[in-house]
């Protein structure tokens, strides 16, 4: 189906069902119950799940297939975001032109960066991409302020030209929409104690994510994808057969840059503002964490990683010591305090510590990430379930 093998198609359908049903699946606990804070089914977070999923899928096409570890991917995300916001300021608040232009602009930018960076490989490539990203960040903060808004960033203003849109009604604010369907609008559906929110923006982003995911499966299974894997496993041998690896790696770089631009454009479509800080190198580091955590080189891994990290960032960080005390209230007083002090550093503001520890554990014990973990558990229970994709374990950079 759709030019996919049966098992890939099953994976795509599974992902499609999961994303479409996400408002239900991520809200398993009734409102007002003690566990309601673990619900992740609110629009803002769900949008972030899929957007960062796209970002990580794109990153994985570069790092997972070719082994080139880029530490500057956030720059493409940022450039895409700026392109999108300018479309919204100049053309229309409709998200379609914004997203398309963000992909194109990020593609051109990544072509330029990739052209230069790919002349080196290994750690030098990482440093070059990092240098480009940090340069973009610094420039966006300082010199390019007329274009980027500097520290204040950019938002659509009421008196922007927007040549395709009609004049706003008196006192109206510009809202991102898809042919009139506002991104921020939601339908709420209460069933018993449960409250499910269906957000227009989330579904737009989810459909884009599915398309991006489909495309990445096609790339993984194509001869082009095989070529990229060949670059990863032994670039020298590839050169000896008379092939020039550069066009392939550059293409992969540009594709992953366009994915990042797409994610940036969607971010603006969901929340119409941009700041330079989303180009900072820690943002590039975050997407590396996502890919590794989920399972680099696998199809679904990066999406899982993005979801896990965003979930931790938004849910784990909200737990404070009062909540912990209510959880462990059943313990004797002294023991309760002891347990709470023991757990406290790992939650709330300290969630980065948990992230760092989990990340280290994954790199040390599970080079294939969560996907490999899942496969190991599946094997443990003796089910002869064939893996949905082909993790090749090692993340060798092309050297």
């Amino acid at each position: 189906m759709l030019g996919l093998e049966a098992k890939d198609f099953r994976l795509l359908i599974l992902v499609a069902i999961l994303t479409m049903a996400a408002p239900f699946l991520l809200n398993p606990f009734p409102e007002g119950s003690g566990l309601a804070q673990f619900n992740a089914g609110y629009p803002d977070l769900m949008q972030r799940f899929v957007i960062f999923g796209i970002f990580a899928i794109g990153f994985n096409i570069l790092f997972g297939l070719t082994g080139y570890l880029s530490f500057g991917h956030a720059a493409f995300l940022g450039v895409g975001s700026y392109a999108a916001i300018w479309m919204m300021k100049l053309l229309t608040m409709n998200v379609i032109p914004a997203i398309i232009v963000s992909v194109i602009v990020a593609g051109i930018f990544s072509l330029a960066v990739g052209w230069i960076s790919l002349r080196r490989s290994g750690i030098y490539f990482s440093i070059l991409t990092l240098a480009f990203a940090q340069m973009s960040y610094s420039l966006a903060y300082s010199v390019l302020t007329p274009i980027t808004g500097g520290e204040t960033g950019l938002q659509p203003k009421v008196n922007d030209p927007r040549i395709l849109d009609g004049a706003l009604t008196e006192g109206g604010t510009p809202k991102a929409n898809l042919f009139g369907l506002e991104m921020g609008s939601s339908i709420e559906w209460g069933v018993g104690n449960w409250l499910f929110t269906f957000n227009a923006g989330y579904y737009v982003a989810a459909i884009v994510m599915l398309a991006a995911f489909y495309l990445s499966i096609r790339i993984f299974r194509s001869p082009f994808g095989m070529m990229l894997r060949a670059v990863k496993s032994n670039q020298q041998r590839l050169n000896y057969t008379g092939l020039n690896a550069k066009p392939y790696t550059l293409a992969a770089f540009v594709i992953s840059g366009m994915y990042a631009g797409l994610a940036g454009g969607l971010m603006v479509a969901m929340d119409t503002q941009v700041g330079a800080e989303r180009m900072f190198w820690t943002a590039s580091g975050e997407v590396v964490l996502m890919s590794i955590l989920g399972g680099v080189g696998t199809l679904i891994g990066p999406v899982l990683g993005a979801g896990a990290i965003k979930y931790m960032e938004n849910i784990l960080s909200k737990i404070n010591s009062d909540i912990l005390h209510t959880w462990f209230a059943f313990l004797p007083d002294g023991l309760e305090d002891f347990v709470v002090t023991l757990i406290y550093p790992f939650i709330g503001k300290g969630w980065h510590l948990t992230l760092g520890l989990i990340f280290m554990a994954v790199v040390i014990f599970l080079p294939g990430g969560l996907v490999e973990g899942g496969q190991r558990i599946a094997r443990l229970f003796g089910r002869k379930k064939k893996s949905t994709d082909t993790p090749d374990g090692k993340t060798t950079p092309a050297e």
């Binding site: 290994g122 990092l130 240098a131 420039l139 390019l144 190198w281 280290m360 040390i364 080079p367």
Partner: protein
Amino acid sequence: MEAIILQVLNGLDKGSAYALIALGLTLIFGTLGVVNFAHGALFMIGAFCAVTLSRILTLSHTIVDETQKDFLGNPLKVEVPYVYDWFGQATGDVIIDWAVPLSILFAIPVMVAIGVLMERGLIKHFYKRPHADQILVTFGLAIVLQEIIKYYYGANPIPTPAPSAFVGSFDFGTMLGFEANQIIYPYWRIIYFAFAAIIIGAVFAFLQFTTFGMVVRAGMADRETVQLLGINIDKRFTLMFGIAAAVAGLAGVMYTPINSPNYHMGMDFLVLSFVVVVVGGMGSLPGAVLAGFVLGILESFASMREVLAILPGLNQIIIYLVAIIILLTRPRGLMGRKGVMED
């Protein structure tokens, strides 16, 4: 001329920090072949060694002072640091005042211990894994170390002043025969530079003139042969990791008066030091030091008002720009050795 000298001087202190961190990074890379992304965290831990020592020194107990009265007429309760009890008030004040330089003595054993622990506990298991894995696991370690420091010391910068004798600036220009008030330079930055020069000199002397250093250099050149000669090179390399950690830590200790330490200072420096290492050439110790100072000085030149008038924003990007140019024209960096991390 005055302006040029001033910019060179301004570049020296940042350049010293870059050079020290890059030196440690290169030591680790040259000996163990590990790309250590946690090196910035070691710099940061060094800075917090200074914070810790100054807190230990000001540990106090409360006594009731009968000679002083508070506004109700009751005897005043006074906090007295323990050092007053042990050394008397005058000496105690001097000790507290000199907390930062004293931290050097405190930081060396702590940092060596942390370094050795890191190498034996974690890095050891990553020699056979690809460089990308090493980068990733040390990156994770850097996050963990940073968060632990944040948990215990909070997220705000902690001011840690230099000894009062070194607070303030002096007129450097008059020493060189320029007019007064042309080249003003803080004392502590001169001390930082001198300190960095001493450490760098010490590391080079250690490698060059001691038997231990000779063996380490031999191991850097050809590890297997050294092992075949019956020398336990692993043990020496572990100690070199400790020394590299101590160098980063000392750079952090002495940097505290210049910039109040906070938990993410390591990450801020790490990115730049990596650029420095790559510009200098992976595995080349003189290259790392040279590139550190050159980039530090270039950065301060780029932030001159005259330069910014022509090329606005240059000070923000100069280091990265130089790195890109160097990497594309001299792939091995300024002084890179042949065969180290090449394509």
